[in-house]
């Protein structure tokens, strides 16, 4: 990267709660947000555990003063909650000149589609959700809600999506096409994804245990998280508190299999390597890794191998926070960007819950307790179906 990029706001809603402080409190208090499924009706409800936000769509809409005749999906409503907090912290309204919005999602409006698709032939009232299916519409609706008129876009690279939203944001700022940008992702729980991951047999019926030798699979979650990034130029004119810096990024493809990672973690290795190079940092500079760590046998082994290839004997402190939030798909990289920035701000690293036995691919166990320590640089991994691997590096504002 030519220059690091300032982060001036962040917003989050996850199974740990709404807002940065409730999420931080849960991380520090070692309180997981994983529970039984309540808001969705599926035959799998009793067989799985999820990171669910315990608010109905109506509750989410009402707390934003949205009339209940809206045609928004849950993905959109969650996104609005997180964007609101991010803009507020950055002291922005959304309609500032040269402010862009880059969102990401995998399910888009699938939660409303699967609820209403069989009624569209008869119910004209429900037909308002037909256009909400489109991934781009969630972005369009969130942008319109905050009066963001200029550049806005959406991407979807499966479970690495939000990391790529951050990277595009960085490119748009560095090329001078934008001065400020809100980047992140939102994904609601849906029967579609629950059944999909279940049919792949990678869901755990117990609390997920990332990097544990006996891990059984992942817990799905839902969340939205966004960060505000601003160029040096506008910050010179309007100085404000910088929470942290984005100092590097890397995107690579594993090119191995549509849903599985290669045994040597090629994609993960390349993404981490690119991110370190782009940040002009060496492996030893990293103080903490917020790993992808989904707790599937395949991911953790591949990621573990790739981390060892990069860090060798100087393995920094690492943990996966998926046991807190569940795997929130497109939003995961944004959720974990917020957690990485919280780690930099509070000089603390978060524990990897439910860990017992170290897997063969790694030589040292993950962080097991809340640890106060010097955290100057955090590396955050997100990998997805289709071999899409992404790594972000965040650095402390000294």
């Amino acid at each position: 990267m030519n220059s690091r990029i300032a982060i001036t706001g962040m917003g989050i809603i996850s199974a740990l709660g709404e807002g940065q402080s409730s999420n931080y409190d849960a991380l520090i208090g070692q309180r997981s947000g994983i529970s039984k499924l309540e808001n969705l009706s599926t035959v799998l409800a009793d067989r799985i555990l999820v990171g669910e936000i315990k608010k109905t769509n109506d509750q989410l809409a009402m707390s934003l003063n949205i009339d209940l005749s809206h045609g928004y999906s849950r993905t959109t409503l969650l996104g609005m909650h997180a964007v609101k907090e991010a803009l507020q912290q950055a002291n922005l309204t959304g309609n500032e000149a040269n402010l862009g919005f880059i969102s990401s999602t995998t399910v888009g409006g699938m939660d409303t589609t699967e609820k209403y698709v069989l009624t569209y032939a008869e119910s004209e009232e429900n037909q308002r959700f037909i256009s909400a299916h489109d991934a781009g519409v969630s972005t369009r609706d969130i942008a319109a809600f905050f009066g963001i008129q200029g550049f806005s876009t959406t991407l979807s690279t499966a479970c690495s999506s939000a990391a790529n939203a951050v990277m595009l944001g960085a490119r748009m700022l560095q090329s001078g096409q934008l001065d400020r940008v809100v980047v992140g992702g939102s994904d609601a729980l849906s029967k579609f994804t629950i059944n999909g991951f279940n049919s792949l047999m990678i869901l755990s019926d117990a609390l997920c245990a990332p990097f544990d030798s006996n891990r059984k699979g992942l817990n799905l979650g839902e969340a939205a998280a966004y960060i505000v990034m601003e160029s040096e130029r506008v910050l010179k004119d309007q100085p404000k508190k910088v929470l942290a810096y984005l100092s590097g990024y890397g995107n690579a493809n594993d090119a191995f299999h549509q849903t599985a990672s290669s045994a040597d973690g090629t994609g993960a290795y390349l993404a981490m390597n690119k991110a370190l190079n782009s940040a002009s940092l060496s492996a030893q500079d990293i103080d903490y890794i917020n790993a992808h760590g989904t707790a599937t046998p395949n991911n953790d082994a591949a990621e573990g191998t790739a981390m060892r290839r990069i860090f060798d004997l100087n393995m920094p402190k690492y943990s996966s926070t998926k046991a807190y939030t569940g795997h929130t798909l497109a939003a995961a990289a944004a959720v974990e960007a917020v957690f990485s920035i919280l780690a930099l701000q509070h000089q603390v690293v978060f524990p990897n819950l439910n860990f017992e036995v170290l897997l063969d691919e790694l030589a040292v166990p993950p962080v097991l307790e809340v640890e106060k320590c010097t955290v100057d640089h955090v590396l955050s991994n997100s990998f997805g179906f289709g071999g899409n691997c992404s790594t972000l590096v965040f650095s402390r504002n000294e």
């Binding site: 599926t42 035959v43 799998l44 995998t106 888009g108 699938m110 589609t113 699967e114 698709v117 069989l118 569209y120 037909q127 037909i130 256009s131 489109d134 991934a135 781009g136 519409v137 369009r140 942008a143 319109a144 963001i148 008129q149 200029g150 550049f151 806005s152 876009t153 959406t154 991407l155 979807s156 690279t157 499966a158 790529n164 595009l168 490119r171 748009m172 560095q174 090329s175 096409q177 029967k191 579609f192 059944n195 999909g196 279940n198 049919s199 792949l200 995107n251 690579a252 493809n253 594993d254 090119a255 191995f256 299999h257 549509q258 849903t259 994609g267 179906f385 289709g386 071999g387 899409n388």
Partner: protein, 328 residues
């Protein structure tokens, strides 16, 4: 560049009638191994075919990055999986269609097929997803982050989704009905920093905006950033289709550029999110032949010397894009 759509551009291309129109069949097996082909939906096949053909027609053996756009992604597999979980008791759910339903399937299959470990992205921003892929690729090239990018857009028809779009008046059902003919297609091209005698054109600039409160100003400042004024543009390509509701949003662009030769193409390609790729293909073809074919002419103005073309696309008042290309 390689395009696959309802019909190729030719003097005899026909305006599409109401309803949905599938992409023409091609010999997919000529470029995709038959083993892989069996598992692919139409959209993945089209995307792979156009992508591999575009690579083949470029003078590069490999590219640094693959950036794609798709409005609706792998709709057929997605709708198939959706049907499995909504029509029964969720008891006979198989993973195949779920695996292939993710929006990034085409970009990742292209990476897998060509063993490309570089940057890999998929944009899903409605009807400017293709232009978004162009924009980011151009951004990567200009900054030097990448030196060559395979860029493309693909969208496939799913009858189930089309039925829903018909219900809300977006797909036409008869002459004079609301909506417009729908199509499908894949459009891929290779962008490279390298100057080469065989290069088709220069992609100068791309911009996207969500609302057009002052389109004329937006166009002027877009061109000004490239040191150009509207009078200097040789021709424009308009993304207008047969939908009267959508057409309203093109009125000001048509008016503002009325002194320039205007082209349109969606009467030949049909509407789909990445149909703007068909528009770019038409513009490149016009550069090559140095004339605007009668079948594409919108205002019947002839062009003297085609050296730059401005493309404008939007859908229903949203997803605006401007693309500027020049001859090399």
């Amino acid at each position: 560049m390689h395009s696959l759509g309802v019909q190729d551009l030719s003097d005899t291309a026909q305006s599409l009638g109401p309803g949905i129109h599938f992409s023409k069949e091609v010999a997919f097996k000529d470029v995709i191994k038959s083993g892989s082909l069996r598992r692919m939906s139409k959209g993945v096949k089209m995307g792979m075919y156009a992508g591999l053909k575009a690579l083949e027609s470029s003078n590069l053996d490999e590219v640094d990055a693959i950036v794609t756009g798709t409005g609706m992604g792998c709709l057929l597999d997605s709708d198939q999986f959706l049907t499995q979980i909504t029509s029964g008791s969720e008891s006979f759910v198989t993973p195949t269609s779920f695996i292939q339903s993710t929006h990034n399937t085409v970009a990742s299959q292209l990476a897998l097929y060509t063993q490309n470990h570089g940057t890999n992205l998929t944009y899903v921003n409605g009807s400017n997803s293709f232009e978004m892929a162009l924009l980011d690729a151009l951004c990567m090239l200009k900054s030097g982050e990448e030196s060559s990018v395979l860029v493309g857009g693909v969208d496939e028809i799913s009858p189930m989704r089309m039925k829903d779009l018909e219900r809300i008046g977006l797909v036409s059902t008869a002459t004079g009905s609301s909506g417009t003919p729908y199509g499908e297609g894949a459009h891929f091209l290779v962008l490279s920093q390298e100057e080469h005698a065989e290069n088709l054109a220069e992609l100068v600039s791309v911009t996207l905006f969500s609302q057009a409160t002052n389109l004329n100003l937006e166009i002027d400042s877009f061109l000004k950033r490239e040191g150009m004024s509207l009078e200097e543009v040789s021709a424009v390509v308009i993304g207008i289709n047969a939908d009267a509701v959508d057409a309203v949003h093109y009125a000001s662009f048509i008016q503002y550029t009325s002194k320039l030769p205007q082209m349109h193409y969606k009467h030949l390609s049909g509407q789909y999110d990445c149909s703007s790729g068909y528009g770019l293909q038409c513009a490149l073809d016009a550069f090559k032949s140095q004339e605007i074919p009668a079948v594409l002419s919108f205002n019947q103005l002839k062009s003297v010397n085609l050296s730059s073309i401005l493309l404008y696309n939007q859908y229903m008042g949203g997803y605006h894009s401007l693309v500027l290309i020049k001859t090399c």
